[in-house]
C-alpha cells in the first residue's frame, strides 16, 4: 500500500528496505507523511536525485507498520518531529535527522557521508 505521493521510490515493506541496503552502498530513506515538514524534504531529494547517481533515494510512509524498522531504530531515539531521514552506508546508519531539513543541510550530509 502506498502512503505517499512523491516522485521518489516508495518502500512498502521492511524486506524491501533491507534489499535496498544490500543493493546500494549509499542509501537515503525518508520516513514521513504528506505534511509541511516532510514535503520540502521530498522536493529537495527529487531535485538532487540526478546529481547524486551514487546515492539511492527512497521514501517510506510514517504510518506504514513496516516503518517501525526506522521509527524504532536507536539512531531515532528522542526524535519528535517528522520526517525521520536515514542515511545508510553499506547497510549501516551513518546519520539520522529529525524534522524538516533544508537543501544545504541535506547536501552537506551527502557530501560528508557519501
Amino acid at each position: 500500500m502506498k502512503y505517499l505521493q512523491t516522485n521518489l521510490l516508495e518502500i512498502d515493506t521492511e524486506a524491501e528496505l533491507k534489499q535496498l541496503m544490500k543493493d546500494h552502498e549509499n542509501l537515503v530513506v525518508v520516513l514521513g507523511r504528506m505534511g509541511p515538514m516532510c514535503i520540502p524534504v521530498y522536493d529537495i531529494l527529487e531535485e538532487i536525485e540526478d546529481d547524486y547517481p551514487h546515492v539511492k533515494f527512497a521514501v517510506m510512509g510514517f504510518d506504514n507498520p513496516d516503518g517501525g524498522i526506522i521509527r524504532n531504530h536507536p539512531a531515532c531515539r528522542g526524535f519528535m518531529g517528522i520526517p525521520f531521514t536515514m542515511y545508510y552506508k553499506n547497510g549501516e546508519v551513518v546519520k539520522a535527522t529529525t524534522s524538516i531539513q533544508n537543501y544545504q543541510q541535506i547536501t552537506d550530509i551527502l557530501k560528508e557521508k557519501f
Binding site: 505521493q5 507523511r33 504528506m34 505534511g35 509541511p36 515538514m37 516532510c38 514535503i39 520540502p40 522536493d43 529537495i44 531535485e47 538532487i48 531515539r77 528522542g78 526524535f79 519528535m80 518531529g81 517528522i82 535527522t97 529529525t98 524534522s99 524538516i100 533544508n102 537543501y103
Partner: protein, 322 residues
C-alpha cells in the same frame, strides 16, 4: 547569445505560481527562481477547505496543481536555489545564483512570501524536532499523554492548542499579551477546554533538556519574574514574517518590513512588481496571494507592452528568448 526572460518571478508560492500561470499563458518567457520548495506556505497547510471551486483538498495537492499548471504553460521552474547577487535597478534585471547560474529578465515580480516567526529563545533551534515543533498536525502524536506549551494568541495558536488536546495530557498556552487576537468563538472554545491552561503576558526565554526538551523558562513580561516549567514539547504559532531582509536597501518597506505596492502591484522600482504575503496588506489568504500574483503578472505584461519600443531601441531584438 545571452538569454533574457520577459519576466522573472522570485518565489514559488501561490502568488508566484499564479503570476507564472498568467504570464506564461500570455506567451511571455517566464522563469521562477525559488529558494525553497514550490507551493510556499500552502504546503504547510494540512487541509484547504475554503479555496473557491475546489473541494476540500490537501495543501500540497493544491500547490502541486498550481506548479503543474505553471510548468505546462511553459514557465521554467528553478527551485532550491540561493540568490547571491542581484541588480533590479537596471532596465535588464539580473540574478546571480550561488551555483553560478545567471538569469536576466525585463521585468521582475517579487513573491517571496513569509516564514513562521521564531520565538528567539535560547535552545529553540537545538530542540527543533526534539520537542520544538511548528506543526501540530505533523508532530502532535509524538506528545500523546505528555505536557506541551503552545506559544501564540491568534487563531492558529488557539486552534492548534485545541487540536493538541487530542494527544497531550495538558496544554499550556503562553501568550505575550493579556488578551487573544483570535476570533471570539475560537477563544471561547479554547477557554472551555479543561485540558488547556493559560500563562498570559509572558514569553519563553529559554528551552533546556538533554536528548530532548525537558524544561522551559518563562518570563512574565510585566514583573520580569521567571518560572521554570517541566515540559515535553513546545509548539510555536506566532505568525509569519516577510522574507524581505535582503531587500531593505532597494525596496520601500513599511514598519513590518513588508514591500509597499500600489493597486497594480508596482513597487518603487520601475519594472519591478511584488505580490503575496511579502507585500503590505491586511489579509493573507491563499486567495489573496493568487489575486496579487494575477494582478502583478498583468501589470508586468502591460509594462512590457508599454516599454517595447524602448527595449527594441536598446538593441535587444537580437537576444535569444528561448
Amino acid at each position: 547569445m545571452e538569454k533574457i526572460y520577459d519576466i522573472a518571478i522570485i518565489g514559488g508560492g501561490p502568488a508566484g505560481l499564479s503570476a507564472a500561470i498568467y504570464s506564461s499563458r500570455a506567451k511571455l518567457k517566464t522563469v521562477i527562481l525559488n529558494e525553497g520548495s514550490f507551493g510556499g506556505q500552502v504546503v504547510m497547510t494540512n487541509e484547504v477547505a475554503n479555496y473557491p471551486g475546489v473541494d476540500l483538498t490537501k495543501g500540497y495537492s493544491l500547490a502541486n496543481t498550481m506548479k503543474k499548471q505553471a510548468k505546462d504553460f511553459g514557465t521554467k521552474l528553478v527551485g532550491n536555489i540561493k540568490i547571491k547577487n542581484y541588480d533590479i535597478q537596471s532596465r535588464i534585471k539580473t540574478f546571480e545564483l550561488e551555483d553560478g547560474r545567471v538569469f536576466k529578465a525585463k521585468a521582475v515580480i517579487y513573491a517571496v512570501g513569509g516564514r513562521p516567526r521564531s520565538i528567539n529563545a535560547i535552545g529553540e533551534d537545538e530542540f527543533k524536532g526534539a520537542g520544538v515543533s511548528y506543526c501540530a498536525t505533523c508532530d502532535g502524536d509524538f506528545f500523546t499523554g505528555k505536557e506541551v506549551i503552545v506559544v501564540g494568541g491568534g487563531n492558529s495558536a488557539l486552534e492548534e492548542a485545541v487540536s493538541l488536546t487530542n494527544f497531550a495530557s495538558k496544554v499550556t498556552i503562553v501568550h505575550q499579551f493579556d488578551h487573544f487576537q483570535a476570533f471570539p468563538a475560537v477563544v471561547d472554545e479554547t477557554k472551555a477546554n479543561p485540558k488547556i491552561n493559560f500563562i498570559m503576558e509572558s514569553k519563553i526565554v529559554e528551552l533546556k533538556g538533554e536528548e530532548s526538551l525537558k524544561t522551559a523558562i518563562i518570563e512574565n513580561l510585566k514583573t520580569r519574574e521567571k518560572i521554570e516549567m517541566n515540559i515535553d514539547g513546545v509548539f510555536i504559532f506566532i505568525g509569519y514574517m516577510p522574507n524581505t531582509e535582503q531587500l531593505e536597501s532597494v525596496f520601500e518597506l513599511n514598519e513590518n518590513k513588508e514591500i509597499i505596492v500600489d493597486s497594480e502591484m508596482k513597487t518603487n522600482i520601475e519594472g519591478v512588481f511584488a505580490a503575496g504575503d511579502a507585500i503590505a496588506k491586511k489579509f493573507r489568504q491563499i486567495t489573496t496571494a493568487v489575486a496579487d500574483g494575477t494582478v502583478a503578472a498583468l501589470s508586468a505584461a502591460e509594462y512590457l507592452r508599454n516599454k517595447k519600443d524602448e527595449f527594441e531601441k536598446e538593441e535587444l531584438l537580437n537576444i535569444n528568448y528561448n
